[in-house]
């Protein structure tokens, strides 16, 4: 009969896992979901977002919380597995009954959770720069759309100050963000009179590490002079790419490379001396000098120390972290204004929210298109892994999630 006992124990464990914990007590806290990969390929980028989200929650709670209640973070690990993202988001919304979710990084993860959020009328804050072509009533996008990152960067490259580039090598990892961005850029370059023969587009797979051939292609293409590389290479692959560039003697003064997915975090793994002068375009840099940013960085470093996070002093802040920080504060403000955590009320209250961000600008959540007005900053890599800002917009720029450079978008309404 022992086997029956064992079997019943096993099956009850299984049922418990499936049916979940007993119903929660009366809510003294407001639950907030954090949906970032803590293991797998995306852990490198997303762990910092989880950490800064937890820090922000602590900050908000220290000031008394929201609506008199403390925020309680519910952290789940979808392990860089896209179906698991959908499953975890469903869990956060139905079982944990969170008021809002801060999460996702890759477009795949966002697209896999979107149906869940739309079905269950949840609220997702998405902090990463992306390709646009989306506008969901259940998502607030605190990262840059292409017109807040890619297009200004190319304009800078084409300007006299940026080197007067006339030939462009579009290099990306093979997935939707680079493909869409390059599509938009092609149309943009065409509108500026750049002929097809002066544009070359190439893609490498995720995790690609041998860039010898690609760099040789860049060299050959660059023989035509006034060439710039627009890189949408994602994640790890940036390290071997920049190493190969540096070693084969391609300096930023010969052929500058502007990247859209390389920030302080990605440069942490490279010796940046050969890369001095290469560019990145973001809405925030850690090296920005203003009071809000100094306070933000100080708080972050203290948090890292307090929690003993791996990396210690070498931990950095970057654009998606700032976007998470701003998004969370805006949400808290909206809840306070709406007087409730109900998604429909908060959604209305989010329109027009402003926040003085570490970028030194006051960011505004647009009234209709669920995107932030963000400033555009172009930075050059320095030998210490930080960026020197060489150009910036005077004012935050309104996002155009439906890029006017993609055919068919003229008909799209921004509800």
């Amino acid at each position: 009969m022992k086997s029956w006992k064992l079997a019943s124990i096993l099956s009850s464990v299984l049922c418990a896992a499936l049916l979940g914990a007993p119903p929660a007590r009366a809510a003294e806290t407001i639950k907030v979901g954090i949906l970032h990969s803590l293991s797998g390929t995306m852990a490198i980028s997303e762990t910092s977002l989880k950490d800064v989200a937890l820090m922000t929650i602590e900050e908000i709670n220290a000031k008394g919380g929201v609506l008199g209640k403390k925020l309680e973070p519910i952290v789940v690990d979808p392990a860089s597995n896209w179906p698991l993202f959908a499953e975890k988001s469903r869990q956060l919304l139905t079982k944990d009954k969170v008021a809002a979710v801060f999460g996702c990084w890759t477009s795949v993860s966002r697209k896999s959770v979107l149906p869940v959020f739309e079905e269950l009328n949840g609220l997702l804050f998405y902090p990463v720069q992306y390709e646009g072509e989306e506008l969901s009533q259940n998502v607030f996008y605190t990262g840059a759309a292409p017109n807040q990152q890619a297009i200004p960067a190319v304009e800078y490259l084409m300007s006299k100050e940026g080197g007067g580039a006339t030939r462009f090598f579009l290099l990306g990892t093979d997935y939707v963000y680079p493909r869409t961005t390059n599509k938009i850029l092609r149309a943009f370059l065409k509108s500026k009179g750049i002929p097809e023969s002066d544009i070359l587009e190439t893609y490498t797979p995720f995790g690609h590490s041998d860039y010898q051939t690609i760099v040789a292609q860049i060299k050959a293409f660059g023989a035509g002079g006034h060439t710039a590389v627009i890189s949408t290479i994602n994640g790890d692959s940036n390290v071997p790419f920049y190493k190969e560039l540096g070693n084969q003697g391609l300096k930023a003064t010969d052929i500058p490379v502007v990247a859209f997915s390389v920030g302080e975090e990605e440069l942490r793994g490279i010796d940046t001396k050969p890369l001095v002068g290469h560019l990145a375009a973001w809405n925030y840099f850690m090296s920005l000098k203003n009071k809000t940013n100094s306070a933000f960085i100080k708080r972050w470093k203290a948090y890292v120390k307090k929690k003993g996070l791996p990396g210690g002093d070498s931990r950095v802040t970057n654009d998606p972290m700032e976007a998470t920080y701003v998004g969370m504060h805006m949400w808290a403000q909206a809840v306070q204004k709406a007087g409730s955590v109900k998604v429909d009320d908060v959604r209305k209250a989010m329109a027009g929210q402003t926040y003085a961000a570490p970028s030194g600008f006051t960011l505004k959540m647009d009234e209709t298109n669920h995107h932030l007005w963000k400033p555009v900053l172009i930075g050059e890599v320095q030998g210490n892994g930080q960026f020197d800002v060489v150009w910036k917009t005077d004012q935050p720029v309104r996002a155009q999630p439906w890029s006017p450079f993609i055919a068919g978008n003229e008909k799209r309404a921004e509800k």
Partner: protein
């Protein structure tokens, strides 16, 4: 008579009528009575009780089975089916495949194609024919291999045919060249890796890294509807039962005996006059077909299919489900898949950093100390 014909004939004779247990009398003897009770009881619970609890019982009641449980349960049932299929080839034929995830994923993609077409004009770009990802790639028309994918029957056929055909061709070459053991396992890893790279390419026309997502309906039934959801759940349970019975019939027949003989001493079986290739090829293809259908049931429940389903690591995990449950028992792998995936869902919430430690230790502990898996442990307790 060509070698091919000879092989097919020998295959045919091994499957000939008198050796199969006759239906009716045979079915009852498939399992011992107690096992039948457990199996049918579990099936009734899954296919009848759960739908009732999900649909008829109000959400506030403690007896209500929520969406989360239904979708998670459906997913686990599909995985259990894959584990069963894997046990058929590994536990009974001794073929350790480390690429079975590929067949699962191919079935999933075939169903995904239909579901993408079923979105119709409700996609982001509103194109009635082309799925969204093709519109943004600037493709003007459907590639030839997408023609007819709006017909459910065609795709349902493809769900079975695509993985089976691939398995057949691959197996034909591999078994004929007598590739066995670890070599075979490594080659299956290479196969699934190659396909994963292929499907990651946007130019291949299967959605690239994003895969297929944003499904709206299946056969006209909206996927967000709880009734559709629980119907898919019940179907997954049904398919698992059907596959279980079919596999059981197969392994208890004379065919099955020859199969286990091949597992234990292939050369000797060859010397006895049987051609192992036909036997291995048959179970290999059957296993792939079972996985394909499981994949097709998985995709509408999970809402996304993407090339990481074909990753080599995923396929190795399938092997551990079988090993944990108990190799060569058919029921064991089902239990193993349920246990491990249940633990995964729980640990990635409760203690995410621990999950990988737990999984790694599980691999080592099971292969070292529990060669017969959990089921073996249970059976030993009985004696």
């Amino acid at each position: 008579m060509t070698a091919m014909t000879r092989r097919l004939l020998s295959l045919g004779t091994s499957l000939s009528w008198p050796q199969w247990p006759l239906p009716g009398t045979g079915l009852r003897t498939l399992f011992p009575r107690r096992t039948w009770t457990i199996v049918l009881g579990a099936y009734a619970l899954l296919a009848v009780v759960v739908p009732v609890l999900h649909l008829a019982v109000p959400a506030s009641s403690a007896w209500h089975v929520g969406d989360y449980a239904v979708t998670l349960g459906g997913k686990i049932l599909c995985y259990a089916t894959v584990a069963l299929a894997m046990d058929l080839v590994w536990g009974y034929a001794g073929i350790l495949s480390l690429g079975h995830g590929l067949f699962f994923a191919l079935g999933g993609y075939a169903m995904g194609m239909y579901l993408m077409r079923a979105i119709g004009s409700e996609g982001v770009y509103g194109d009635p024919i082309l799925p969204d990802f093709m519109v943004f790639l600037d493709w003007k028309q459907l590639p030839w291999y997408w023609h007819g994918s709006e017909h459910f029957l065609q795709q349902a056929l493809l769900v079975v045919v695509a993985p089976s055909l691939l398995a057949f061709v691959f197996g034909w070459f591999a078994f004929r060249s007598r590739i066995r053991g670890v070599y075979f396992s490594i080659i299956t890893q290479a196969l699934t890796f190659a396909f994963m790279l292929l499907f990651f390419r946007n130019q291949t026309g299967f959605g690239g890294n994003n895969g297929f997502t944003d499904f709206k309906r299946i056969l006209g039934f909206p996927l967000a509807n709880p009734r559709t959801r629980v119907a898919l759940f019940a179907l997954s349970a049904t398919w698992l039962l059907v596959a279980l019975i079919a596999c059981r019939m197969l392994v208890r027949s004379k065919f099955g005996r020859v199969l286990t003989a091949i597992r234990d001493a292939e050369d000797r079986v060859r010397f006895c006059g049987y051609d192992p290739v036909g036997f291995k090829l048959f179970v290999w293809t059957l296993s792939a077909a079972i996985c394909g259908v499981a994949g097709a049931l998985y995709v509408p429940q999970v809402g996304i299919i993407n090339p990481s389903e074909m990753s080599p690591a995923n396929s190795v995990e399938i092997a551990i489900w079988v090993a944990v449950g108990g190799r060569g028992t058919l029921l064991g792998p089902i239990l193993g898949a349920a246990l491990i995936n249940g633990a995964k869902s729980w640990l990635t919430v409760a203690a995410p950093e621990l999950w990988l430690y737990a999984l790694g230790l599980l691999f080592i502990v099971v292969t070292r100390w529990l060669p017969d898996g959990v089921l073996g442990l249970l059976r030993r307790e009985q004696k």
